[in-house]
């Protein structure tokens, strides 16, 4: 019994090789002899042989398409454009288009939506359009240096006085209680006034750089 069991397991293990005639002649004879003696192993062998026959009979299917490799046409080196250039071209075009749109549409739209234009910024006091135009009457005369006066758009003291141009950096106004320190620069000399002398209209101040003490003097 022990011998038969060992023989069956061994035969079962080498049945595939037996089918392929891939055993030594001695083993081939031993397996063949066993198969004549053992009904169960013979059935196994028949089933295995049938299975292998069926597997081998499965037809192959034609490939649905060709897998041939297409030769890449050789492009002359001069005609080739760098890949980076080709990739960046649409980016550059897009950037130009966005800039153009910004110039023609975005900026005017912004001005309509509350962003003051340069003309609107000239009006400091709201409602000033309804009023009569003010005369630019200078409150005082100053001597401006020529270089500063020649620069267009530079706020002058006159323009500051009539409020035509909003100063970029508002000069602090002198309020009550504010202590005025003496000027830190030498004031221009002026003749001392005696009794009955007429007060000259001209006031010497430290223009063009109007310092806080001088503003106090003017006020």
């Amino acid at each position: 019994m022990w011998f038969r069991k060992k023989g069956c397991s061994w035969v079962e293990r080498v049945l595939s090789e037996y089918l392929n005639h891939n055993l030594s002649p001695e083993d081939m004879e031993r397996v063949g002899h066993h198969l004549t003696q053992c009904q169960r192993c013979r059935e196994d062998y028949e089933h295995l042989k049938l299975t292998v026959g069926l597997v081998r009979s499965v037809p192959s299917v034609p490939a649905p398409r060709s897998f041939a490799i297409q030769p890449i046409p050789q492009v002359p080196q001069a005609d080739r454009k760098p890949l980076r250039t080709l990739l960046l071209r649409p980016v550059a075009l897009s950037a130009v288009a966005v800039l153009a749109l910004s110039l023609f549409y975005v900026i005017p739209e912004n001005s309509k939506e509350g962003h003051p234009t340069s003309d609107e910024m000239m009006v400091v006091n709201p409602g000033a359009e309804d009023m009569a135009p003010l005369e630019a009457t200078p409150l005082f005369e100053v001597e401006l240096s020529s270089s500063r006066a020649e620069k267009p758009g530079t706020p002058t003291l006159e323009s500051l006085a009539v409020g035509e141009i909003a100063p970029p950096h508002p000069t602090p106004l002198l309020s009550e209680g504010m202590e005025v320190s003496p000027p830190t620069h030498p004031l221009p000399s002026r003749p001392a006034l005696g009794p009955g002398d007429k007060v000259p209209e001209r006031v010497d101040v430290c223009a063009p750089h109007l310092c806080l003490p001088c503003i106090g003097r003017i006020a």
Binding site: S16, L50, T51, L54, S57, S60, P62, P64, I69
Partner: protein, 190 residues
């Protein structure tokens, strides 16, 4: 000129960069490669992808071919591509193969056709190594040595995988009661 000699000439020319010679080799092996991929992957689209990838790899690596069996070298690339393809996809329950893609003729006998379907379904129950061994040895007709070369494993491993794969297939067909006597091959399978 015999086919083998022509193949050697094509290999030599393809090694020098002649793509037309290589495409002649492709034409000679594409059906075999496609069938192998189809049986290993059980999916038509994946098989097509694996095949195309295999021939591209072969073209790139042709200079590394040192001689010997070109068929084994080519099929080894196909098996490796299929293995890579199978690793990429998520593990799924073995599915029925697309039978319509396997039918060679619409006039094929219905019972025979059904049996083939069941055999292919049974193949999907095997693991990749067993399926490779059965497909290469029994379906593609490779020798043990060639199958070992294709599967990159020792000869004994091929034998054991072939044996266990055949037994599993037999059990599957027996369980499905698909071994009727009328389908037994007339000639002995040896």
């Amino acid at each position: 000129m015999p086919d083998h000699d022509q193949e050697l000439v094509d290999i030599a020319l393809a090694k020098q960069g002649d793509i037309f010679s290589f495409n002649r080799l492709v034409g000679g092996y594409q059906t075999r490669a496609y069938n192998l991929s189809l049986r290993l992957l059980r999916d038509r689209d994946e098989a097509l992808d694996a095949c195309q990838e295999s021939f591209l790899k072969a073209w790139k690596k042709l200079k590394d071919f040192k001689g010997g069996s070109f068929k084994a070298w080519m099929l080894k690339i196909v098996v490796n591509s299929c293995r890579d393809q199978q690793r990429k996809k998520k593990p799924t329950i073995p599915m029925d193969m697309d039978i319509s893609s396997l039918a060679t003729s619409v006039e094929e006998e219905a019972l025979r056709h059904e049996l083939e379907q069941e055999i292919l379904k049974g193949l999907s129950c095997l693991n990749f190594g067993e399926r490779s061994a059965v497909t290469l040895f029994d379906m593609e007709g490779l020798s043990y040595q060639e199958a070992a070369e294709v599967m990159s494993c020792p000869l004994g491993t091929v034998k054991s995988r072939l044996s266990s794969g055949r037994r599993k297939l037999r059990d599957f067909l027996l369980k499905s009661e698909l071994l009727p006597s009328q389908f037994r091959p007339k000639s002995d399978v040896v």
